[in-house]
């Protein structure tokens, strides 16, 4: 079949087996509703056969369609094989599917003939937009105000956590108060260390408190409130109630 032979080479130009079937059906030049399905099937199978001679491999959907059409052909030729109404129904289904595809083709062709926007007809190239956006007003919500306040306080609070704790040294002022309060209750010479607060940490806090207490003691001795005495260099400093200055020695 010459027509079929020529189609072999174009097989790739078809969208699929249904596309080829429609093309073959249209070649019959009859109303699709009255088409000879048997003739159509034979043409399709001969195209596929021809194509397989040229190229061994064929896409699966072509082969599936070919197998199905072979089954349909055998049933249509020899109804005695059984289920003749099945074959007739299948032939009708095929004809209906071809009609559907034909309708789609026609609709696409009809649409393609319409004057299309941007091709046959054009809209205005510079549309004018009279919409103005007014951004002058503020959008303020109470919830936003409160969450902002919380955020600010939390952030400041979080910063505080990272601030190093200031060292609380026993100041001269503290020592003056402490000495004035305690010195009267002492019977006789006492070591200066006895006037230090009780809960001091060793190291810098203790040494700072000791020097503060010494400065306070010197201050009070100058004012004649107490006596200071040191027996030897770097020896213990002793304190006693009452006027007089005996530092050194």
């Amino acid at each position: 079949m010459v027509e079929a032979e020529s189609l072999v080479l174009q097989l790739e130009g078809f969208e699929g087996p249904l596309d080829l079937l429609l093309e073959l059906a249209r070649a019959q030049k009859v109303d699709l509703a009255k088409i000879s399905i048997l003739a159509l099937v034979e043409q399709f199978l001969s195209v596929i056969e021809g194509a397989r001679r040229v190229r061994l491999e064929l896409a699966a959907d072509w082969l599936v369609m070919a197998a199905w059409l072979t089954w349909l052909k055998s049933r249509l030729l020899v109804p005695a094989l059984g289920e003749p109404e099945d074959a007739e129904a299948a032939a009708e289904t095929l004809a209906a599917r071809l009609q559907d595809l034909q309708a789609v083709r026609a609709a696409a062709a009809w649409m393609a003939q319409r004057p299309q926007l941007g091709w046959e007809v054009f809209g205005r190239g510079q549309p004018e937009d009279f919409t103005e956006t007014d951004r002058s007003r503020l959008r303020l919500e109470m919830s936003a105000l409160l969450s902002a306040y919380l955020a600010a306080r939390r952030r400041a609070g979080a910063k505080l956590q990272y601030r190093p704790q200031p060292m609380a040294y026993h100041s001269v002022q503290n020592a003056l108060e402490r000495l004035a309060r305690l010195v009267g209750s002492l019977p006789d010479w006492s070591a200066l260390e006895a006037f230090l607060p009780e809960d001091l940490e060793d190291g810098l806090p203790r040494r700072a408190a000791l020097s503060a207490t010494l400065v306070a003691g010197l201050e009070m001795a100058r004012g004649g409130i107490l006596h200071l005495r040191q027996e030897r260099e770097f020896g213990p400093i002793l304190v006693r109630n009452g006027p007089g200055d005996e530092v050194g020695g």
């Binding site: 249904l18 249209r26 609709a107 549309p127």
Partner: protein
């Protein structure tokens, strides 16, 4: 407001807009007792035979250049890509069968729907998802957009020819119809 004032206002609105202007939008703009259809008919008449005409598309009115001037305009206006046949067929299936799933489109065409084709239709804003079908796999349903109507100068989906009309003469020039029951081989 005189009718001529109403016509001027409608003219300005439709001229300025990028999209077809609906009757409702016009009714909101024109004085309450205005007969919108009459105003638009008068406006259309004033533009008859000009280089620009008033058309009713996508459920509204829009000014468009006269089709006979297109060859000259194509020299000055940037052209979008024409849709290939596959895309046109797919679009036709969506237009006629919407809402429709991808599987149904493929079945009707008897071929797989390529990503390229779907992308092209989406990029041009011609089709859009319209929910999902409540069946296994919940496939997306597709339908056409207002831009589809505008693109093809349709006012409504009902302006598409009926299937029976399409099947009367599917392929251009009429062919002699053979006598019934006498199939040609």
């Amino acid at each position: 407001m005189s009718e001529q004032d109403a016509v001027r206002l409608a003219e300005a609105v439709v001229f300025a807009a990028t999209q077809p202007v609906s009757a409702r939008a016009l009714a909101n703009l024109l004085p309450e007792d205005t007969d919108v259809e009459a105003v638009m008919a008068e406006l259309g008449a004033q533009y008859a035979g000009r280089g620009v005409g008033l058309v009713q598309v996508g459920g509204g009115w829009q000014f468009r250049t006269a089709p006979d001037i297109a060859p000259v305009l194509r020299k000055v206006v940037e052209l979008p890509r024409r849709l290939p046949r596959v895309a046109m067929e797919t679009l036709a299936i969506v237009a006629y069968h919407q809402p429709v799933t991808r599987g149904e489109i493929e079945e009707i065409r008897g071929a797989a729907l390529s990503q390229t084709t779907l992308d092209l239709l989406l990029e041009n804003g011609l089709v859009t998802p319209k929910g999902r079908r409540e069946s296994p796999g919940r496939p997306t349903l597709w339908g056409t957009t207002p831009a589809f109507l505008a693109q093809f100068g349709l006012n409504d989906l009902r302006d598409l020819p009926r299937r029976e009309e399409l099947l009367i003469d599917p392929t251009g020039p009429p062919r002699p119809t053979p006598a019934p029951g006498e199939p040609e081989a």
